[in-house]
């Protein structure tokens, strides 16, 4: 059970980063750390002891394979994570060019 708890701690570190950090890039970094821990969580769920990577070798068929379903889900979730990070980065660079700073508090009082 240790890997699961460590994985959840990584998720909470990311959540802590998003809540407390003031810097836009730091918030984006914490979000991608939360994302990384979610993928690790799915991979941990699909692991089977003595299992082999889910590639069928026509020569010797019968083997115990690792569960392919969580891997398919993580494959999709990784590219979704890339999409959200790209969108976030586009807004961050835009805000930086308009306000000249990465700090949320300064953006709030510059807004006026």
């Amino acid at each position: 059970m240790i890997p699961y708890i460590m994985c959840f701690i990584l998720f909470l570190v990311g959540l802590y980063g998003v809540i407390t950090r003031r810097n836009l890039v730091k918030i984006a970094v914490s979000l991608s750390i939360m994302e990384i821990s979610t993928f690790l969580f799915f991979a941990l769920i699909g692991y089977i002891d003595g299992g082999v990577a889910p590639i069928v070798d026509p020569a010797d068929p019968v083997k115990t394979y690792v569960d392919p379903l969580p891997q398919a889900l993580v494959l999709t979730a990784i590219v979704i994570g890339l999409a959200t990070t790209a969108m976030l980065m586009a807004v961050i660079i835009r805000l930086y060019r308009k306000y000249g700073t990465f700090d949320i508090r300064e953006i709030k009082n510059l807004r006026g």
Partner: protein
């Protein structure tokens, strides 16, 4: 295996990509093409509304038949409750798209606007009709990412900041949902909603169940802007272009937030009393706090955004009362009344809130400012907008002939019959404050005499905007017809039966 079901997804997607390619060469193409697609979708959804009735359409994508009662592929499911929400999405979507034909002239890059609009519609349709948990997450991401981009469409400072906050909170919600799905898969090893209910029926550990429910509730609650998670809504809805904030407020928080919470907590989880009470208190809090936050607002769209939170509170409150009664094993007509009130108010809110945002857009289109103090005396120059916004304001604050009154009445009666007198009292008080707030809006915007109105040349908004506003106001009046029993039987009662008897949904789907 009704072959019409996949077209809810195919048509808007292919439409969006055709707009991207052809819209580059033929300028006028994308405007009318989007409205055409959405009209076609609205017709399909009405077709499904009127003949789902008691049966559930199950479409097995990819043709994978279940092996010894365990579904393998992804299921597209259309039942009574789905049909109603799909109708809301496509109808309000069509009216907003038609409205934005002339509204979007103010913005550059119209191609991107219409393509993202079609993708948002495709995402919402995908979320509502899918019967698979991870599939709901993927289509949720499509609709939410296009909503992020549309909120920041006119790239000004406050719009970019609103989009940033929306993306951060939306990102946290997505990862909470993904963690919840991982948790559910860890215990039940399956992703189909009906099959998860079967797997859960073989016993579960209580704390694990509570933890999963809290994860899923907070993830989708954040998308539905329920009280502890509503921080992003006022900025996002006030800085988006008006047809988009009409879609966001009227449809997105319902289809992607409230609908999924109702579907999962009625048809997937076995409702425990503690969770039902938590949901009801969240609904009451968002109802009360939303209204108090809205009183001090002078910007029209922020005022309307806060009212969205409080009206959503009504829906969550009445559905929560239904949940409490079901968790106590009480399945009589009081539960049915509570759930009917919730769903009826869901439909009404889509109509009048969408209309209010379109009115705010019309005012902004002519005057250019959203501040109530700078307006005044618009009734004479903009008769259509004034009339439609009067109808919408009266129906949101629950004045008898309009639809808002009947749904709030049902909710209050259900609360009283279920012996929650405090909740009924709060509902009445909030309704009165809403009335006060909208009278202020009407007086300042339309009937207030101001000195400097003569030198401004204000004329009525162009035809597409007036047309969709008038259609929406007719809808507001027609929806009050739903109270009569025989019409209610045809439209609402299939949805009520699905939600009342939780095991009916999974038994029919597993039986297929």
């Amino acid at each position: 295996m009704n072959p019409l079901l996949p077209f809810f997804i195919i048509t808007p997607l292919v439409g969006a990509f055709l707009i991207m390619i052809i819209g580059r060469f033929i300028k006028e193409f994308n405007k009318y093409f989007t409205s055409l697609i959405l009209l076609f979708l609205a017709c399909i959804s009405f077709y499904f509304l009127f003949n789902t009735g008691e049966n559930i359409f199950v479409y097995k994508v990819g043709g994978w038949e279940p092996i010894n009662k365990i579904p393998i592929g992804i299921y597209i499911v259309m039942d009574g409750f789905n049909a109603i929400v799909v109708c809301i999405i496509n109808l309000v979507g069509f009216l907003s798209a038609f409205y934005s034909i002339s509204y979007i002239k103010r913005y550059t890059a119209e191609n991107y606007f219409y393509a993202l609009f079609c993708l948002m519609i495709a995402g919402m349709n995908g979320v509502v009709i899918s019967g698979d948990l991870f599939n709901i997450f993927v289509f949720l991401e499509i609709s939410v990412i296009s909503a992020y981009a549309l909120v920041a469409f006119g790239v000004e400072k406050n719009e970019l900041e609103a989009s940033f906050r929306y993306q951060v909170l939306g990102g946290i919600a997505s990862f909470l949902i993904l963690f919840g799905i991982g948790f559910i898969y860890w215990k039940t090893k399956t992703l189909n909603i009906a099959d998860i209910k079967e797997a859960f029926s073989t016993g579960y550990d209580r704390t694990y169940y509570l933890f999963v429910q809290i994860l899923i509730l907070s993830g989708f609650g954040l998308k539905a802007a329920i009280i502890p998670f509503h921080a992003w809504l006022p900025d996002a809805h006030s800085s988006a272009p008006s047809p988009i904030s009409a879609m966001l407020s009227g449809v997105l928080i319902k289809a992607v937030g409230i609908y999924v919470i109702i579907r999962l907590f009625f048809n997937m989880f076995a409702i425990s009393e503690g969770m039902a009470i938590l949901i009801t208190t969240l609904g009451t809090l968002s109802m009360v706090i939303g209204v108090f936050l809205a009183i001090g607002q002078w910007d029209i769209k922020r005022l309307l955004a806060y009212h969205s939170i409080s009206q959503m509170g009504y829906v969550v409150l009445s559905v929560g009362i239904g949940m409490i009664l079901i968790s106590r094993g009480v399945r009589n007509e009081v539960t049915a009344l509570a759930i009917t009130g919730g769903i009826f108010h869901l439909i009404n809110h889509a109509a009048f809130k969408g209309l209010l945002f379109l009115n705010a857009g019309a005012i902004e289109y002519t005057i250019g400012s959203r501040n109530l103090q700078e307006m005044g005396g618009l009734a004479k120059q903009m008769p259509a907008t004034a009339a439609t916004s009067f109808i919408a304001s009266m129906s949101i604050s629950g004045i008898p002939p309009f639809n808002g009154f009947f749904s709030k009445l049902i909710i209050i009666i259900a609360a009283i019959m279920a012996k929650f007198y405090l909740l009924a009292l709060l509902a009445v008080i909030v309704s009165i404050i809403t009335l006060a707030s909208f009278l202020k809006f009407q007086r300042y915007a339309f009937f207030n005499k101001t000195d400097n109105k003569n030198e401004r040349k204000i004329k009525e908004v162009p035809f597409p905007m007036v047309f969709s506003m008038v259609i929406m106001s007719i809808l507001c009046i027609l929806l009050s017809v739903l109270v009569f029993p025989q019409i209610r039987e045809a439209v609402l009662s299939p949805a009520i039966d699905i939600l009342m008897d939780p095991s009916k949904y999974s038994s029919i789907i597993i039986g297929h």
